[in-house]
Symmetry: C2
Subunit: 394 residues, 2 copies
């Protein structure tokens, strides 16, 4: 349900493009196009070598311009985390979409509406109750395809991969009018893995879970064409995709400090950052106060449990290069507290009021969610060459 609202907004003027970073109001979201393109190319090349298909998760970017670069074709394939994303993509001609969050029965009318528009939308489920709801909602002439979600590591949702009783009961409950399309697994615990071997083991656990469940279903006579795996850490760590038909990943498009802490990227690969302005100091504490609080950076503290705690973000100069060894150590609604990691006030460099800084995000998905647009820094690295809208809401 979305209301027809008179937009509660008045400002929408901007300097012409290209424009220098100095002309931007802060806080705002920057996207380094070259870094992003490099990240996409890296995963695309890796998967091409493995011979496995890529179904990019568009939940991180939520931008048509970025989705177009991530998808193999203008029609998909794509993974989304909300029906709103699916509806936006459908409006632009994408026809192959997996909605990778467990389906609520109340959402099936929107699923049906998308399918009637010609979108091959697949839903996800892990219970007989959901399977019955999907079967009951399906049009006999157009069965809704469903993937069974698997739990390979105790992270969140999903059927245990070896639970043949539940797998077959779900398949059976779908049968009357819906359609079993396959299995899907996400190794969410791979974010906690450290070191190449642990990451490879997480990837292998993800693969093995999917392949095992598919085998159980096939042995019982079910057709199971899709065997879908994916998370950013495992996508860059898997040594085999045997039995897997597609890989999903999302945050790699921007990368972030969490992924750098896991060892999947370098800090230099991070493509998204928040431009902010110094608005004050508490010099005896070694603090510079900036105008990026949790409304801009989010409250995500994803690196808190990692070897290097990056606070609410790592501080760079306006050119995007880390400056001093500064982190955002605290956030309020519209204030960020920048301080030396050392805790020594003498280590705070001279950052006069008005200085522009860029904050690399702890968790890019959470940070970019706070913004409705990307300011794209083009090839030269110094100017905004485009502004791309970013989808919000459900």
């Amino acid at each position: 349900m979305n209301a027809p609202l008179a937009p509660f907004r008045t400002r929408d003027a901007q300097p012409g493009l290209p424009c220098p970073l100095d002309a931007l109001d802060t806080p705002c979201l920057l996207l380094d196009e070259a870094h992003m393109d490099g990240n996409i190319a890296r995963l695309r090349t890796r998967l091409a070598v493995s011979g496995v298909a890529f179904r990019p998760h568009l939940k991180t970017a939520k931008s048509w311009e970025i989705s177009r670069r991530l998808m193999a074709s203008p029609h998909g394939p794509a993974t989304v985390s909300t029906l709103r994303e699916a509806e936006e993509l459908a409006a632009r001609g994408v026809t192959d979409i997996t909605y990778a969050v467990g389906i609520a029965p109340q959402k099936l009318p929107r699923v049906l509406a998308l399918r009637r528009r010609g979108v091959d939308l697949t839903v996800l489920l892990d219970s007989v109750a959901q399977a019955r709801a999907v079967a009951a909602a399906s049009d006999p002439a157009d069965p809704i395809p469903a993937l069974i979600e698997l739990d390979c590591d105790g992270h969140r949702s999903g059927v245990q991969p070896g639970d043949s009783q539940l797998l077959l009961a779900i398949a059976h409950a779908l049968k009357p009018s819906a359609r079993l399309r396959g299995v899907l697994v996400h190794a969410g615990e791979s974010y906690e893995a450290r070191g190449e071997e642990a990451l490879a083991a997480a990837a292998e656990g993800e693969r093995a879970a999917a392949v095992e469940a598919a085998r159980i279903l096939r042995d019982a006579g079910w057709i199971c064409p899709v065997v879908s795996v994916g998370s950013t850490p495992t996508a860059f760590s898997a040594r085999s995709y045997e039995g897997v038909t597609e890989v999903r990943a999302g945050v790699f498009v921007f990368f972030d400090l969490v992924q750098a802490g896991i060892g999947i990227c370098a800090v230099d690969d991070i493509a998204a950052s928040v431009l902010t302005t110094v608005i004050g100091h508490q010099r005896d504490k070694g603090w510079a106060i900036v105008d990026a609080g949790w409304t801009a950076l989010s409250c995500d503290r994803g690196t808190a449990g990692q070897a290097v705690d990056q606070g609410y973000g790592l501080v760079c100069d306006a050119g995007g290069h880390p400056v001093g060894d500064l982190v955002v150590r605290g956030v309020n609604q519209e204030h960020g507290v920048v301080a030396p990691r050392s805790g020594n006030p003498a280590d705070l460099p001279d950052l006069p009021v008005g200085t522009r800084l860029r904050i690399l995000p702890s968790h890019a998905c959470a940070t970019v969610t706070q913004f409705d647009r990307y300011h794209v820094i083009g090839a030269g690295g110094e100017e905004v060459t485009a502004v791309w809208p970013r989808l919000m809401g459900w």
Copy 2:
């Protein structure tokens, strides 16, 4: 800088109003109108008895409909945390606004534009550099008024209240063409106070800091008409407002679990909640999975350091009454993990797939920031009677 964007949105149909909660897509933000009105009346009555003026902080609500209920008149007074809020309020006729975040020199053109539209917009600063920038930007025919921010408790920004040298240097730097309007303080550390006496002491510290700085300025010959204090905990705990001209507060309009933990409100007073739907279970762990993740609830863990840790929110039934003793123990982008506080899987009540729940927010400011509209539950408590847009961005 805000770009002229073709909105990346397609859905804006809704059932007619009033509509039952069951007709809403989830997750969505609910606002209990009767609770909100009660919270507003409570603070208004308290301040009226004290004889002190109220300048509501509109940063929590960011809604014209709610702002109108908070302000004493259609023209103000108001406090905001972004210039975007000031611009929206100005477009609706509000003329008395304090922008209560330290001013960045780059934002002064927007301040001037608002003042030229007839808005008496006051800025905040705590350094000579900012004062010089404000003086340099001021139109001699229309000096920009400024408040000096004070630090009463080491929480964030501000001049030490007894630092007469810096206070007078800032006043002097403003003099050529800007205008000293007074002092402002926010006892941010009051969120850590526990018990009536500690809260009263935080309020008295806030008051004493403001009065002391005003005295120093006045003793040196400066006119200091405004002595502004405020935070939700101190607004409900102060025993004296002697020397204070106005009180600011924001989150009290909705209240939240943090404020309940401090003891400023009851859980029953909380007016904002997130409607969500059960999409799965891990029964052996005692988990129900819901479709409200951090995109809806935020990552704020404000009660983590309190006596009662409410996780990412307290779980209520669709009517808004706490159910079992369930909290949201984990969040991913679009998933929340609901579990008994006890940790005992047997304590999870029966919550079939499709069950609607309401999550009371840990920190209401952070949770409501994730949404672009309020679904207002009218007097009966069972139907949505209005949809109010909520401002996003800067």
